[in-house]
């Protein structure tokens, strides 16, 4: 029997909490050909499998070893789960190829997941990269809209 939307959301919360807050990317919660479609931080291609997820999480956890995920909102229906979140951490390893700033950084984003047979099959993400670069002082904050 297919998972309920609530069960799907619980799988996603478990997966993303564990991945971001401990570094353990749980392959058992991904389908064998799961794809992470996000292109954050200069990632250039999306290969199916756990490696793509490990790459993104590993890159940010290397830059910010104390990185912590906070869920801000969750919406789930049918086979989709959508999360709005923030990530906070201290930049001791260098974000997106830049030298370490030593600053505490916070950036927000959204993640959409398609579930299949109770596992994560696809992930899309939008991340406030400009806000991140502004906090790093790489780009000065422009005036309001």
């Amino acid at each position: 029997m297919a998972n309920t939307p609530e069960q799907n959301n619980a799988v996603c919360v478990e997966f993303f909490d564990t991945a971001w807050n401990t570094g353990n990317v749980r392959a058992d919660l991904l389908t064998a050909d799961a794809v992470d479609h996000s292109f954050v931080g200069g990632k250039a291609k999306s290969e199916p499998g756990v490696g793509s997820f490990q790459h993104i999480v590993g890159m940010f956890r290397h830059a910010m070893p104390d990185i912590h995920l906070t869920m801000l909102d969750q919406i789930y229906a049918a086979d989709k789960v959508v999360h709005r979140w923030s990530l906070t951490g201290t930049d001791t390893g260098g974000v997106m190829g830049m030298p370490p700033s030593g600053k505490q950084l916070t950036f927000t984003g959204t993640t959409t997941v398609r579930m299949a047979d109770g596992k994560i099959a696809e992930r899309w993400a939008n991340v406030d990269e400009l806000g991140l670069l502004q906090q790093l002082g790489v780009v000065p904050p422009p005036p309001g809209a």
Binding site: D73, I75, Y76, A77, A78, K80, V82, R84, T108, G109, T110, T112, W124, N126, V127, D128, E129, L130, G131, L133, V139, P140, P141, P142, P143, G144, A145
Partner: protein, 146 residues
């Protein structure tokens, strides 16, 4: 039509009629008067402030179009989220501090919505690819030079 179908239809109309067609009557029909429109860099308080933003952006970005489909929309009774693709044929006036580049622009983004009990939008929170937008209109270079 149940509430979830109605919410999905309203989100579709939010992009088709308000953003792509500039129909301000649809803002009045679908949005609560205290509607909040929240971006990473701005927080607009009230329906009239939102209308001004739509008018401004539609003036600055020619043929501004937002595309989403029911497959890109997830809704419950009081919440919704939609993936969208935005495009414009020409950035023809200053946006934030970046002067007209005359470039076409295309970016992706996502909007989170909240509905009240009457099915009106009370909040839209946008997460869009501003860095890609800035690159396409030469804004990153401008910011470095400023």
């Amino acid at each position: 039509m149940d509430r979830i179908e109605e919410n999905t239809e309203h989100i579709q109309r939010f992009f088709d009629e308000i953003w792509s067609a500039g129909n301000m009557e649809t803002v009045d029909e679908l949005c609560d008067p205290q509607f909040q429109f929240i971006l990473a860099f701005a927080h607009l308080d009230g329906r009239e402030a939102f209308k001004n933003l739509v008018r401004n952006n539609r003036r600055i970005f020619e043929n501004l179009t937002y595309k989403t489909t029911p497959d890109d929309i997830v809704t419950t009774d009081l919440k919704g989220a939609a993936f969208w693709n935005m495009s414009t044929t020409k950035h023809s006036d200053t946006w934030r501090n970046v002067p007209a580049s005359n470039n076409p622009v295309a970016i992706k983004g996502m909007t989170f919505f909240r509905f009240n009990e009457d099915g009106k939008f009370t909040e839209a929170r946008v997460q869009n690819d501003v860095i890609s937008m800035m690159k396409q209109i030469n804004g990153i270079k401008m910011l470095y030079d400023s």
